[in-house]
Point group: D2
Chain length 330, copies 4
């Protein structure tokens, strides 16, 4: 965890507090997040991790017969072990472009769906799920999100934005989205902590006073309620003090851009063009073993041209020395 968060744990450990999220840090963190979102009608709830958050939020906002629309590469479709289906809901997949759902794809699907006279035999869409940034590290523009949100409103669908890596999107070069704008242009999103310097924690933001009644019960029923809610409260209180959340993101982006430039200057290509802290580098298969010996990264699979797609991720903990060490093996 980020040292400032560790400091907060050290500073507060002697203090008593109420359980289950009724502690003062949780309250304060909620207020700070609402302020950062520029909204008085936003409602905030802290959960522990991404899959848990996706399952809880999606289930709480849909009727049992509804499904959630998502691109085929969407996290809930690929890497959550069926957590959404376990809550009884279908993940309805549409093809992605650069990891993103396009308004056109969504619109075409919905138009065809409701035009089909047999659609009551099908899973009725109740929500659109997108990730910001996407699983490929790409980001949506204001224009793209607001067009999707307009479609959702017209079709009575909830727009839910998975922000497990939100900060890295907000700080990316070329990004035009900020927290207040995002708050105004979707129904619910979350501010990822786990991948942003916290040891765990995601801050769900219901944007328009639309937290489901008894959301607390949904959380408890999912097994997602922390007895010592201060665990997430203290962390988000810290992350939203003096802009720490954004500084962490900015540092990781800076390191990622340096790393990207470094790979580029050594002649490496990329799988997609990511402006965020995840870079998908094409490593020639012949060099792969050397990389695996000296660096920590994920293997995404072959690119079909003699390279392996390798995911390199930066964070608050990435240092200039780390990059220098990496350069030695390029």
């Amino acid at each position: 965890m980020h040292p400032t968060i560790l400091d907060a744990f050290i500073r507060t450990n002697g203090e008593y507090s109420l359980p289950y999220g009724s502690d003062e840090w949780t309250e304060r963190a909620k207020e700070k997040i609402k302020e950062a979102c520029g909204s008085t009608e936003a409602q905030v709830f802290f959960l522990t991790g991404g899959t848990q958050t996706n399952a809880t939020v999606i289930h709480s906002l849909m009727n049992s017969f509804q499904g959630v629309i998502c691109v085929d590469s969407g996290h809930i479709n690929t890497h959550e072990a069926g957590a959404i289906e376990r809550t009884g809901h279908k993940v309805i997949t549409l093809p992605a472009v650069n990891g993103k759902l396009t308004a056109e794809t969504l619109d075409d699907y919905l138009r065809a769906f409701f035009a089909d006279s047999n659609h009551e035999h099908c899973v009725i869409p109740g929500m659109v799920y997108i990730t910001f940034p996407t699983e490929l590290g790409t980001i949506y523009s204001k224009s793209e999100i607001s067009t999707i949100y307009d479609i959702c409103k017209r079709r009575n669908l909830v727009l839910f934005i998975d922000g497990a890596r939100l900060g890295y999107g907000l700080m990316a070069e070329g990004n035009d989205v900020d927290l207040p704008w995002l708050t105004a242009h979707c129904d619910v999103f979350y501010i990822g902590g786990t991948k942003m310097g916290a040891i765990c924690g995601e801050a769900v933001v219901f944007t328009h006073n639309n937290m489901p009644k008894h959301f607390f019960s949904y959380v408890k029923q999912q097994g997602a309620l922390l007895a010592k809610g201060r665990l997430t409260g203290i962390q988000f209180d810290t992350l939203f003090t003096d802009g720490l959340y954004f500084k962490i993101a900015q540092h990781a982006i800076d390191m990622a851009m340096k790393m990207k430039a470094m790979f580029t200057s050594h002649g490496y290509g990329f799988w997609g063009d990511s402006p965020t802290n995840q870079q998908f580098v094409l490593i020639p298969d012949s060099k792969l073993a050397r990389f695996q010996e000296h660096a920590a990264f994920d293997i995404w699979g072959p690119d079909g041209n003699g390279n392996t797609i390798c995911r390199f991720v930066t964070s608050w903990a990435t240092t200039g020395k780390d990059l220098a060490d990496l350069e030695h093996i390029l």
Copy 2:
């Protein structure tokens, strides 16, 4: 319902019987089906309809973390209102060729899946679901099914064949599959009654003494247990007496082939080439209203070339006069 089934209801209505499938007709129907399947180790259970059968069978044979593989056009993926996901399982979709799952597609998917070191974060495949005939009216050959079954056995997957329209596949021209062969080449399948002259009813066949322990409880828990089990017992006892099931199928196929020839001779095209009782005819949009006025069929959607794909289905009840009437509007 087919008149012979109605006769059986008339003949038996005065007789007492035990409830919940313990009646004599149910027992007798099971024996006749096992005989038709040429198997002493097959186990038979009667359910009411296709979606109910798919949900009950799939749920009973998979662990909660497993998903069922199916082509994108598969019935459980498209027209069952999320009944499978409601039981907690993901439907994992692969692209179809002529409505069919190919061994190559399946094998490639499984190889890539298990090669991925992160696959424990994904839904683990537990079953392969295919339909015979498919939603497009096409059929699998022996060679295609046995190759898929071999892959399933190698990967420890259950092979489940949805036979809601099974008879029409078995009687189709060019088909080389029969009941005993099918029984030997999958783990579970069902013999559809609802679309084969019964008022309701599907006969599930667990092929190798592999009915899950307490399957009765699974059925009851699904709300699928008939108090008066004779409703399905009498029907299947009748369908499997004197080959009625196959005669019904043969008649429908004969009518379908005549209808197909009729459409062809009048210059109509088809969406796919179906040898079964479902024919997907391309009706020029200009003629659609006329058809809708005089005939009963389903609209499948536009073909993109000025035609509407229309599904015409024959059955035991289709007569030569029906075809003659249809010809008048071609």
Copy 3:
């Protein structure tokens, strides 16, 4: 099935109809039931059996965090193999008096529940489920039901009445409830067909224009939608023509009262005092084998005093000769 229903199947078998409940008999049966309920805002849907109906209705009317209140002897708590829990909802049990939920028990429970400051950690009650008649054959009075309904309205709970054997309650001696009154004094109930002369079928009545949106999808997702909806449509059309439903019930009650008098005159006692078609007779253990040899009944368990509680049930099919035969073994 009752001969009049069989006649209806014979009479209508040659006619074509639309599938999935869009047939004319289904439409007509709905209208007749609404008329019998004296309500223009009632909405009717046909399902196949009791457990299926309970699971579908309960799930469709509750949020996922809610539970359904029921007496410990209630059918959903004892004999439905966990079908309600399978849909994700807890069955909250309260003690019964003569098989019935009392207003006092309910009120005490709810008062204590909402007074508990930790109740958000508990399952929040969303519905009250009662059976009419009960599993012990007893019936609620108007006064009892309306007091319970008042509590439900005050606490924002749905009142759902399981009428799998409804007719036998309505025709019982001493009963003051009728269909229009019942329709006005609960949120949803069903008119059982399976145990009233139908081969299968239950008619769900949402009493106040409160059928959940997309109830059709809930039904389909449960695997409870009949492709040939006429199966239930024809039966209920028949049952609600010329008062057949009530005649069937009256005959069974008449036979049950004769049987009760017969047992009484031979010195047998009863487990509870049932005015309906189920009689729980105390058979001395020494005579049990003799009964089992000559009569068909269910064993409910020992009474602790050397008798076995045995359930004898009458129906439309019970004849005077059946009773005479029974008397020979008393």
Copy 4:
């Protein structure tokens, strides 16, 4: 969190580690727990909180048609918001004696259940769940647990012991159970961390090499997998170094016994007789406001005799000064 745990976070924060529980602390903690359990075939997995653990373990070890037996006051029945039912399983309740399930109650229930010829219509028991110590602070003896375990083995039921407060039971005066004995006398249990000095965390112990295949997937699907698994790994590594876990428990028990004596000497009565760190004190209603002003405790409800049952809990953080302050208001 306990200061020694905080120290461990400080000491390790600069170190890199693998995610999802593949870190070295997690590995080391597992080994230490296995050693404390005196078992080489035990398997350990870390989860975050009690309800999550109960839901995940119960669901992973039962078939979908099975239910879990528990006393009516059991935590899964009362304070988990229906988390077990959400996974599809019924909680089958039996009456408690002093918060405990007795072997006789269990045996009687099971005998009657399997003697009932209709039991396939009921929820089939698959597991027995008990808590140690119980929700009333009472503890089971070796003799009680082993009798229950024998019944479970005879009936093919899993015995699962919820040890959210396990340490307080193990250190209680009069207790004869220890970790190795417990490991040998049940199928699965957990060692609670959250209520024993950790900020979060429960260590599940599958005692006989019986962790379900793909338990990792069950955890992920439940949304219970921590990306930074070191959060629980570091804590349990610390708790099981130099007997910290047992020291924390012993301190809390010592404080609880002093508090109990203090209340007793001032004439207060108790609801039950708890030898553990939870004391249920009967506070006269007239004094309640004064207590609420000066002390932190939970209200359990009225005792019916003019007192309120109040739960006072001690922990590692309870000091002599805390007790002295409390004494001032007695």
